[in-house]
């Protein structure tokens, strides 16, 4: 009857985590990836001859160590690079702030901007890491089904509740108070320096079309620091090596992975249950369960088809807010850029962030709000070749630059016309902070939100598979009532970033989904 126990549509990192977890439990698994490269929005591609570019995510500090251990990924060749500097933030006045993993060094550096902030920083780090510890367990706990609270849900969330309680009453109340707050207000309680606020707080708008004054941006910031704060961790050989390690392990456990194989439809039987997939080339493959790593809107509108679902459910899926607002510029450089205010190259081994203040972030959002590209955008860059020279030809360097806000829906313009302008705009902006940048560029790649949709398959270019606003988290993700990786179609599951807990290279949606599927396959 069935050719496989499970077919996974999409070889992004979450799909592969699901594949390994299922294969490891002895199930026959087939992964179908439409592109020639694995990893989805966490892939490494040879965009420039000899240049291995991360075309999507760059930072792997959110990836859960439990999953690394449980899936034996180190044995499959996964190697992380921990950076001595987490964040380097050049300022318009020519100075630069560095957040080192070494707290003493960071305190000394912050003191140059504000002695008061420097004094408060260690307590801040402690509070953030206290809260992110709870967040980390929440990420591995599927949200409860509120309509039918089961013993499993209660037990799992009871554990999270106890962990929260153990923080202490004051800390627990702070946790609840802080999560829905705008990051601008939260950081106002801690810091006075724009440089410090911007460097730390800009993470609160990552991948969303919201500003620093938007409620819930504190939660988003904590989510971005859920791997520990401050921290930047890369994958040796490029982010794609994470997918490669997962693929290696999946194959070792008997899974089959086909790239360049697009799925055009999910096949249903007469009872409306998912029974297989139809490939673009007309082949049919059957399986007991189908798991989609594509985002919810793509899964239900394109792969299942609205005619097979209730209008009320489809309306919820249509109402998911995507609103991609992130663009990417990848550069091949003939040397290292020289940043204003830099004292060593070690300073920018982690992320480089242009966000001098939260008012700067908010103003960048103001433009995005009305469908315009930020005149002064937020830039988050890294130069992975500093610690991993094999990624580029000898003597050359790679630089990934993520910019916000580049709204998917442009007012009075379109992305075909604006693509090259966008590249220039990013380079000009960054050149204010690294004047020699322009002269070093030997090759470049520009990815607009439209490109991300067309090339990677991200609806509206949303890198999170749906905005991670408070209204689209936990029991609301991907749509209310369907937060446990199941769907209204029997035997069809979701395992991508559109499910709990959301985007970023965490591995958790795929891992949680696999555990849900295992229960069904038992």
């Amino acid at each position: 009857m069935s050719d496989y126990d499970a077919i996974i549509i999409g070889g992004g990192h979450n799909g592969l985590v699901t594949a390994v977890t299922l294969a490891k439990a002895g199930h026959s698994v087939l992964v179908l990836e439409q592109r020639d490269v694995l990893g989805g929005a966490a892939a490494t591609e040879e965009v420039f001859p000899g240049g291995k570019v991360n075309t999507g995510a760059v930072d792997a500090s959110l990836f859960h160590d439990e999953i690394v251990r449980d899936l034996f990924l180190k044995m499959a060749g996964l190697e992380f690079i921990e950076n001595p500097a987490a964040l380097f933030a050049p300022q318009p006045d020519g100075r630069a702030l560095t957040l080192w993993t070494d707290e003493q060094k960071t305190v000394a550096d912050i003191a140059r901007f504000s002695p008061r902030d420097a004094q408060k920083y260690p307590a801040f780090v402690q509070q953030v890491n206290g809260m992110t510890a709870v967040l980390r367990s929440m990420m591995l706990t599927p949200p409860p089904d509120l309509a039918a609270l089961g013993v499993n849900d209660l037990a799992a969330w009871g554990k999270v509740g106890l962990q929260t309680k153990r923080m202490g009453s004051k800390e627990m109340m702070d946790f609840m108070r802080v999560l829905p707050m705008p990051v601008s207000e939260y950081l106002d309680e801690w810091f006075e320096s724009d440089a410090v606020q911007g460097a730390i707080g800009a993470a609160g708008v990552t991948g969303s079309h919201l500003g620093a004054r938007g409620g819930g941006s504190t939660l988003m910031m904590l989510y971005q620091y859920s791997g520990g704060f401050p921290r930047a961790r890369f994958v040796r050989g490029g982010m794609g090596q994470l997918a490669a390690a997962l693929a290696t392990m999946a194959r070792q456990k008997g899974a089959e992975i086909r790239t360049g194989t697009a799925v055009s439809r999910i096949q249903l039987n007469d009872d409306g249950q998912a029974v297989g997939v139809l490939l673009a080339d007309g082949t049919e493959i059957r399986a007991r369960v189908i798991i989609s790593n594509a985002d919810p809107r793509r899964t239900f509108f394109q792969l299942v088809g609205p005619q097979n679902l209730e209008p009320r459910f489809m309306r919820q899926v249509r109402n998911i807010i995507y609103r991609g607002s992130t663009a990417r510029l990848n550069l091949l450089l003939n040397g290292l850029p020289q940043f204003n205010g830099q004292t060593s190259q070690e300073q920018f081994t982690g992320l480089i962030r242009i966000a001098p203040g939260l008012a700067y972030v908010e103003k960048a959002y103001d433009a995005g709000k009305y469908g315009r590209v930020s005149p002064n955008p937020i830039l988050t860059a890294n130069i992975p070749t500093l610690l991993d020279p094999t990624l580029a030809p000898a003597g050359q360097h790679l630089m990934h630059i993520t910019m916000q806000y580049a709204p998917y829906t442009l007012h009075e313009s379109n992305w075909q016309d604006k693509r090259n302008w966008l590249g220039d705009h990013i380079i000009t902006t960054l050149s204010h902070y690294a004047p020699n940048l322009q002269s070093l560029i030997s090759n470049l790649q520009i990815l607009t939100p439209l490109d991300l949709e067309q090339q990677v398959g991200l609806t509206e270019g949303s890198i999170m598979h749906g905005q991670m606003g408070l209204d689209q988290l936990l029991v609301m993700r991907p749509v209310p009532g369907w937060s446990q990786y199941r769907t209204p179609i029997d035997n069809l599951y979701l395992c991508g970033a559109g499910t709990h807990p959301g985007g970023g290279v965490t591995g958790t949606p795929g891992y949680n989904a696999a555990r849900e599927v295992l229960r069904a396959l038992r």
Binding site: L146, A147, L149, K165, S169, K170, M172, M173, D174, M176, R177, V178, L179, P180, M181, P182, E185, E189, L210, R213, G214, G215, G216, N319, I321, A359, E362, D366, K369, Y370, G469, L470, D471, V475, M476, P480, G481
Partner: protein, 507 residues
């Protein structure tokens, strides 16, 4: 509060610093013959059980209906909604047939949401951090209440608590005037824009009255909002409470860790078993008592309590009726609200300016003409106009000066004149109130009309601070009962009523 305590047989004295009671809900004759509802101007949230318990109608409370909302548009068109439901639907349909189709469904959803939340309005917030079984029972009861809601309502409520009013309304509507006008309820009293997450809840907060308020809709109190305060004062006096005006309190007298009375500004001292502050949390904890007597956590939380004022008020005395370009002449529309809110983007842009410390040059304005509803408010043939304006940030760049205040007033008049061409010719007198004026006149910290923003991190057991949401304070015998406590602002009466219940339990 006073009325409830007196009704329970307690000996109560109310001390008011100004020459009249009411706080933000007062009516004053600032310009001879013209009565301004100086601060708040409409009523809807007042709890029906309070009206009943205190027999407010017998003490002179009369509410006149405020049935219509007119949204004039820059292109000369308008959106007009009034008590005639089908006529309103037809007008909405002129802008979008889809919106007219969704209007009733939206109304039904909000009705259910408000009914679900009503439960919380009448409860004292439990403290989730204690191990007290009473708190846990109350929390469990609350969880059961919400989990028993139909699933769809439960999730809609979750969305309402977390979304921006613009996104929330986008799920139903598409036309600018309707979305703009509706989203405006989500920003009132906040320093947020309609696209800021969290504003959908404020939308609900203002909807509550339409469902459950004593009057089922927005209304205007005869004699202005001062009429409400006066009725409650008469009720309190009828139960034996004493009310003293021109009696500002300087300090609460604390002996050991017990409040024993108050010291007045004139040097008098009054002693009592219980002292209750109706002032906002900042004044209650940081001014009336010495913060050193409080736990440092609480002081820190109160300092962080967000009370950014963002609204101003312009009160006008008019020689004759205003003439609207979109609906000329005298008509029933003048007995309703006139809302300058042509689109969500319009309000959002007004916010954009305010968040960087400028007042909005083209602000959101909500006007009513009290004298059209209640002729006693102005001399025959003349009129008063009450304009609520947002945004006017408390922390204006360079600070508020007389010149800035007049410039702000001019911006309001200029904006209104675009829709009311004869306005500038008929103004006899104007009173402009900035958030700083509101703070200076009636004491609201930073001029925040809700005594603290209604944001998720400042509601329920977090209002005004974690651990101190049950109207108590760390000082024995010292209580809080203002809008800065649960369930928050608006002329609702609930904080005072709940606080009175708690105090009586303790006696």
């Amino acid at each position: 509060m006073a009325a409830y305590l007196a009704k329970a047989g307690k000996k109560v004295v109310v001390l008011e610093k100004r020459h009249l009671v009411g706080g933000a809900s007062v009516t004053e004759e600032i310009f001879p013959g013209f009565k301004y509802t100086v601060f708040s101007y409409v009523v809807s949230l007042l709890r029906p059980d309070i009206v009943r318990d205190l027999r407010l109608p017998q003490h002179g409370l009369t509410i006149l209906p405020l049935e219509s909302t007119l949204t004039p548009l820059p292109n000369g068109d308008y959106l007009y909604r009034d008590g005639d439901h089908y006529r309103s639907l037809r007008d909405i349909a002129r802008h979008s047939a889809r919106d007219a189709g969704a209007y009733d469904e939206y109304g039904r959803s909000m009705y259910h949401m408000a009914k679900a939340v009503k439960y919380i309005l009448s409860m004292v917030p439990p403290d989730p951090t204690t191990l007290n079984p009473k708190d846990w029972l109350s929390l469990l009861d609350m969880a059961r209440h919400f989990l028993n809601l139909p699933q769809e309502q439960l999730y809609l409520l979750a969305k309402l608590m977390t979304m921006s009013s613009a996104d929330f309304l986008d799920q139903w509507f598409e036309s600018d005037p309707l979305k703009g006008t509706m989203s405006a309820s989500g920003i009132i009293g906040t320093y947020l824009g309609p696209r800021s997450p969290g504003t959908a809840y404020v939308l609900l907060h203002h909807y509550m009255g339409e469902i459950d308020g004593a009057f089922r809709a927005w209304g205007f109190a005869k004699g202005g909002t001062g009429g409400i305060a006066n009725a409650i004062a008469r009720a309190a006096e009828s139960f034996g409470a004493e009310i003293r005006v021109n009696a500002g309190v300087e300090q609460v007298i604390v002996k050991g860790n017990q409040a024993v009375g108050v010291a007045l500004e004139n040097g008098d001292e009054l002693y009592a078993d219980v002292v209750v502050s109706s002032l906002d949390p900042k004044l209650t904890f940081l001014k009336l008592v010495d913060p050193k007597q409080l736990p440092s956590d609480l002081v820190q939380d109160i300092r962080a309590f967000n009370t950014r004022g963002s609204s101003g008020k312009v009160n006008l005395a008019l020689d004759t009726l205003p003439d609207l370009a979109c609906m000329p002449g005298n008509g029933r529309h003048l007995a309703g609200a006139i809302s300058i809110s042509p689109s969500v983007d319009y309000i959002e842009r007004a916010y954009d300016q305010a968040k960087y410390g400028e007042f909005s040059e083209r602000p959101y304005i909500d006007c009513i003409l009290p004298s059209v509803i209640d002729p006693d408010m102005a001399p025959p043939g003349k009129h008063v106009m009450s304009c609520f304006v947002q945004y006017a940030p408390y922390d204006l760049n360079g600070g508020w000066t007389d010149a800035k205040r007049e410039a702000f007033g001019d911006a309001v008049i200029d904006t209104l004149s675009e829709y009311i061409p004869n306005l500038k010719d008929i103004i006899l007198h104007r009173q402009v109130l900035t958030p700083l004026d509101i703070e200076n006149t009636i004491g609201l910290s930073q001029g925040n009309i809700f005594q603290g923003e209604l944001s998720l991190s400042q509601l329920f057991f977090l209002r005004p601070a974690a651990g101190w949401a049950k109207y108590r304070t760390p000082i024995k015998g010292y209580w809080q009962c203002g809008s800065g406590t649960h369930p928050g602002g608006g002329i609702m009466g609930a904080p005072g009523q709940l606080a009175a219940q708690e105090i009586l339990k303790d006696f």
